[in-house]
Symmetry: D2
Subunit: 290 residues, 4 copies
Amino acid sequence: MNVGFAGLGQMGIEIARNLIKAGNQVTVFNRTRGRAEKLAGEGARIAETPIALAEAPIVITMLADDHAVEDIMFSGLLDRLPRGSLHISMSTISVALSQRLAAAHQERGQHYLAAPVFGRPEAAAAAKLFIVAAGPRDQFDHCAELFSAIGQRTFYVGAEAHRANVIKLSGNFLIASMLESLGEAVALVRKHGIEAREYIDLITSTLFTAPVYKNYGSIIAEERYTPAGFRLRLGLKDVRLALAAAEAVACPMPVASVMRDHYLSGIARGMEDKDWSAIAQVVAQDAGLK
Amino acid sequence: MNVGFAGLGQMGIEIARNLIKAGNQVTVFNRTRGRAEKLAGEGARIAETPIALAEAPIVITMLADDHAVEDIMFSGLLDRLPRGSLHISMSTISVALSQRLAAAHQERGQHYLAAPVFGRPEAAAAAKLFIVAAGPRDQFDHCAELFSAIGQRTFYVGAEAHRANVIKLSGNFLIASMLESLGEAVALVRKHGIEAREYIDLITSTLFTAPVYKNYGSIIAEERYTPAGFRLRLGLKDVRLALAAAEAVACPMPVASVMRDHYLSGIARGMEDKDWSAIAQVVAQDAGLK
Amino acid sequence: MNVGFAGLGQMGIEIARNLIKAGNQVTVFNRTRGRAEKLAGEGARIAETPIALAEAPIVITMLADDHAVEDIMFSGLLDRLPRGSLHISMSTISVALSQRLAAAHQERGQHYLAAPVFGRPEAAAAAKLFIVAAGPRDQFDHCAELFSAIGQRTFYVGAEAHRANVIKLSGNFLIASMLESLGEAVALVRKHGIEAREYIDLITSTLFTAPVYKNYGSIIAEERYTPAGFRLRLGLKDVRLALAAAEAVACPMPVASVMRDHYLSGIARGMEDKDWSAIAQVVAQDAGLK
Amino acid sequence: MNVGFAGLGQMGIEIARNLIKAGNQVTVFNRTRGRAEKLAGEGARIAETPIALAEAPIVITMLADDHAVEDIMFSGLLDRLPRGSLHISMSTISVALSQRLAAAHQERGQHYLAAPVFGRPEAAAAAKLFIVAAGPRDQFDHCAELFSAIGQRTFYVGAEAHRANVIKLSGNFLIASMLESLGEAVALVRKHGIEAREYIDLITSTLFTAPVYKNYGSIIAEERYTPAGFRLRLGLKDVRLALAAAEAVACPMPVASVMRDHYLSGIARGMEDKDWSAIAQVVAQDAGLK
């Protein structure tokens, strides 16, 4: 298929590469051209401007946040896309922006799928992402091979595109809340004289054996918060988006509120570029540890 | 070995049975004699009073809560135990009571191990419990075969007995916080029109594949809160014990505080005998669902 | 002085009237013209469009929320105001919008004061408002007589206009937190069998004799939440603005987070048009009361 | 009247002195005899042991906490009091202990009033306390002149003595929550560059003019947390008692939970002997201030 692709960050570059490998014709755009050139040698065409992506019937965006998506879409690309074209938004964006994109595309006779992904860059490289997609069923079916080129499984969650974004945000909330809870448990046992490392080994050999507990448990036990796999300020962003999505439907989320406060405190303490699991360090400091 | 055993609840009866099967001579006491008689046919002797347990050099208690342990221990048994005997407390009790027991036994020249377990009645029946033990190392080593008769793995976490209780309480806190977070995530997606069942299937096929997420996720998705596997009022008790253990060492645990409030609200709404995962129902009602 | 005035809600109409009484020449604009006509008989001129306000050298806005201010200012009026003119924003708006207005006016060589007020419609009618003003000192001094025509006291809090908005939002936060706390205290005593009315009388005769405690205490004791003096959904709006102002400077506000969740729950329970003190009813329901 | 009086702390000594001044015959007991001797010159008799207080038909206790009251009452005094005698407990104690005292006195044919007070030592000295009393009406009426000797007003709140304790604890909760909220508001404005002193002056000249806001507002603005008027660890104790009273009736109090966590964090940061208004300092530090 002929695909335009915007956003070659850690995730985007791997996704684009897998699309190329699968035989698609991919035109890429990235604000810093260097990353686009990497892919040129692997068969990608380079678009000099976002608007140039409009020549492909399918445009995929995989960008950092709402602002980046707005910059690309509402500064020309949206109006340049032909009727009948399809935009697949894979970025972790707000529910509100996803709804706004759905409306804007519909007005212009264009199609829109929200298709955020679960998985880290390694999973993206291995085409092992999980994709949560929503939007018109026929458009989704039309793109099945694109999704299978980049992920291990795709979930179609309905015709209203923003639902996929809700699910993505809820997933990040669940991971964050696991970090917060581990942080509280570790603070409790440390203050009773138990080594964090010993405790994490015990808990992840018994109650919580999943890799996500083992990996983050190790980071917390060793206070190995740099380099960040996912920055604390992005953790705050995702919790904020979850809270906004919840506020839009009058849904209290007290644990999300607790985490928002902890992430803010982390930023106030200068941890914004640490890994988001450093929320456990905020909790530890509040308990007088260190 | 010659063992006295008090407390034949759902967990205790399975543990005692496995001790018998392993060839130990077990004398059992239970407040309602009927349950003791079940074991008589399998080789147990029946003690008519708790004090009679003092004839065995090792006494194990597996009782419902602090009150039950205090009733048994401080109404005669403690003073009747000979010097050099050993008490193994497997109940989920407060850190404060465990410390008090350690001191009381030491005063009397007796030994004390705290050895709470992780696992449900099925795991107890299958001798698949995880045991977290603390207290004098030589006493622990002396009992190794008892622990291996009832569990799949035993962790020794140091000479201070109450540490084992801290770890047990922290583990229950981690499970409860998972329930709370799942409840908030499910409320969020339901209010956006997504089916709870569909959502839980998605999340537990991708991010959280552990059985504990699948099992409790199903209960929450289907709102199958009765019959209770573990009652909500016991969930409150355990969160309360975790908060008390945290308070003793000046450790804030904001997520535990949130859950305490939700469990109290659950009780105020008449849910005390539902499963403790009904904390998700409190959250759903606060979001106006149902 | 010659003043344009936009926004004749419950507060705005009283403020505009007092400006007229003090001898100023006031041109008013209101989306629903009826309210403007009321003032015509008292000496006001009526502007048919917001843009017509630009003929006065000073424009005051007293509007419901950010959207209303954006609608008026960014749809022509801002660009029509001459260099050297002054905009006084008295609305309770976000800190972010106040900063944006400050920048937009500066770019155009216009002046800007933020001057939100404390006080209810009765205080506005009696020219007893408290005004918290910030922006260029010379502009503030220039308007001293306007402020003294509408309020009992004006506080100048510095050259950065948005500071006045921060203070306004912090004040509403303090009132809301008083309501939340009263709600929790009343729930506690009611569940112990004490009458709310008796309790409020006692507390407001002893510890908290201020009118704000007496008035809101009575409303809560009698559950007299309709008609609303200030709607619950506006309470949520103001707490949200306080949280946003706090987030912008990395400041956790856990009590504000608790209230946000309670207001959301109130909306989910259908209370959005009750008085914002009905946060106490949310708290009471969570305790199983009623 | 003939009164035994135990507990000559800052509050107790003033109350006892006012009872003497009013012509009562007062026998005092204090653990450190020095304070009792001060009163001897003013007409008090000194009891060498708590048990000696039993000679008076009315015994008043004004002690630091539950432990102090238990020590005095359950180590002999309770059993020594004659049938028909009256115990008035003015200490700030738990609801549970008050209920236990009520039962213990009733078993012995003795009478019991709970009569905690609102007011600081200066108010006690000036006989300006507010007294909240509960218990048998006839006993209350019988003591009217005692109460009027020490306070400006007495409230009778019913036959169940513990209700008076619930009200006392709720009052301290309300003051603590005011401190927490002021702390959050001050953190917010400080991070926006506004001086705490200026802000407190503004707020307490407008919205919150009550002395309690002015006094504590000044302490917070000037961070004058030593010497403590009321220590932070006692603040924690009172919040804990409020939470326990709430838990006993299944009443969530989320703001109390927030404060509990902040007080614990204050203790973990070494602030336990600062004034309880230093909860505002915990909040400020969490916001990265100082």
